[in-house]
């Protein structure tokens, strides 16, 4: 029997919005990794003393570093939002024998995000 195997078109990921989102989300992991590296560089600069820290801040001000960080931020936001979208599907929480509605689980995730961001902002800006 000679069955036909349909080749996967190179642009298969443009066929559907959800496929495109899937590819972008896979790509977002690169930017998550970039933020980790950036944070490690920052910590390294801090541990090397005020001069190294000033140099780090100076370099971070370059337009292309800012550009990379803005793009990375957008991708990390995409990563977070889609990750949260998944959470209510993964978590089946029961309270007093009743299933907590998925919306409440989603809301709890956003609330936790907001809280942690507020704490971080407070630590940095205080």
């Amino acid at each position: 029997m000679t069955a036909y195997h349909r080749p996967i078109p190179i642009l298969w990921w443009t066929e559907r919005w959800s496929y495109l989102l899937f590819v972008l989300r896979e790509l977002s992991s690169v930017f998550v990794a970039w933020f980790v590296v950036y944070l490690l560089l920052l910590i390294n600069a801090i541990s090397d003393g005020p001069a190294a820290y000033d140099e780090f801040v100076e370099r971070s001000g370059h337009w292309w570093v800012v550009a990379i960080n803005v793009i990375a931020l957008l991708f990390v936001l995409l990563h977070t939002v889609t990750w949260f979208g998944l959470a209510p599907k993964a978590m089946v929480v029961k309270l007093q024998g009743r299933r907590v509605p998925p919306r409440a689980i989603l809301a709890a995730h956003y609330a936790a995000w907001l809280l942690l961001s507020a704490i971080t902002a407070w630590v940095i800006l205080r």
């Binding site: 349909r6 959800s18 899937f22 993964a90 978590m91 089946v92």
Partner: protein, 247 residues
């Protein structure tokens, strides 16, 4: 409303064709006709050589899945009038080898399905005289949704991960494993864990979500997979942190 509609049907005759070609047929556009009725009309009146699968004509047997205008659909539950004035393109399900015309080979799924042991597993079977294993309605609700699967393969057809990594055991197989894992009468979750938590299992899934969008039975295989990811991850952490006795 026009009284006829054109169906562009993918034909693949292995003895003639090296790849599918579209052939157009005009069929009556009747209000209660599903795409499958259009295909039957072609077979009965226009071209007896057209091959396709069907059985129940009521969304139960899962054999009439095809790609209709690019989307995986049960053709017995997809109506011609929804696509009027047409034309409607009907192709075999994606991601499976095409045997002939609209018929695909799903042996790959048939081989994978038993690896997740989709049946009730008991450590010790209680004697028949003791009667059935009882279950409350709440316990039934835990897995009922997953038991609605009709093995129609629309979810595999919609899944880009399955297209790219054919070793992925896939949405329905995982949903069916969960159907038993979450059944209060079952004791086989640990036997299924190895396959489910393998790289070909849940971790292949990147939550595209198209399987759940395609499913005609509301099984939500994507949800089943994400839920098992959490179960598997929690278990690995417990295995790492807790002494064997306390698990």
């Amino acid at each position: 409303m026009a009284d006829r509609i054109t169906l562009e049907v993918a034909r693949f005759r292995p003895e003639l064709d090296t790849e599918p070609v579209l052939q157009s047929y005009e069929v009556p556009l009747r209000e209660h006709w599903a795409v499958l009725d259009g295909l039957s009309y072609i077979k009965d009146h226009l071209d007896g050589t057209l091959s396709f699968r069907w059985s129940c004509r009521m969304g139960i047997c899962g054999s009439c899945g095809m790609t209709v205008n690019g989307d995986p659909q049960l053709t017995c539950a997809t109506f011609l009038t929804d696509y009027a004035p047409g034309p409607i393109r009907i192709e075999p399900l994606r991601n499976f080898p095409v045997v002939r015309d609209l018929i695909v080979d799903i042996d790959d799924f048939m081989a994978k399905l038993p690896t997740v042991k989709p049946w009730l597993i008991r450590d010790v079977h209680s004697p028949i005289e003791e009667g059935e294993y009882l279950q409350t309605p709440d316990e039934l609700d835990e897995y009922k949704q997953y038991s609605m699967c009709i093995n129609c393969m629309l979810c595999y057809s919609a899944c880009p991960v399955y297209a790219l990594e054919p070793t992925f055991i896939g949405p329905a197989a995982i949903a069916l494993a969960q159907r038993y894992n979450l059944d209060s009468r079952d004791e086989g979750a640990s036997e299924r864990a190895e396959v489910l938590a393998s790289p070909e299992g849940i971790w292949s899934c990147t939550f595209v979500g198209e399987c759940s969008a395609a499913c005609p039975k509301g099984v939500d295989p994507a949800g089943a997979i994400q839920r098992y990811k959490l179960t598997a991850a929690t278990k690995s952490i417990k295995d790492l942190l807790m002494p064997r006795s306390a698990r």
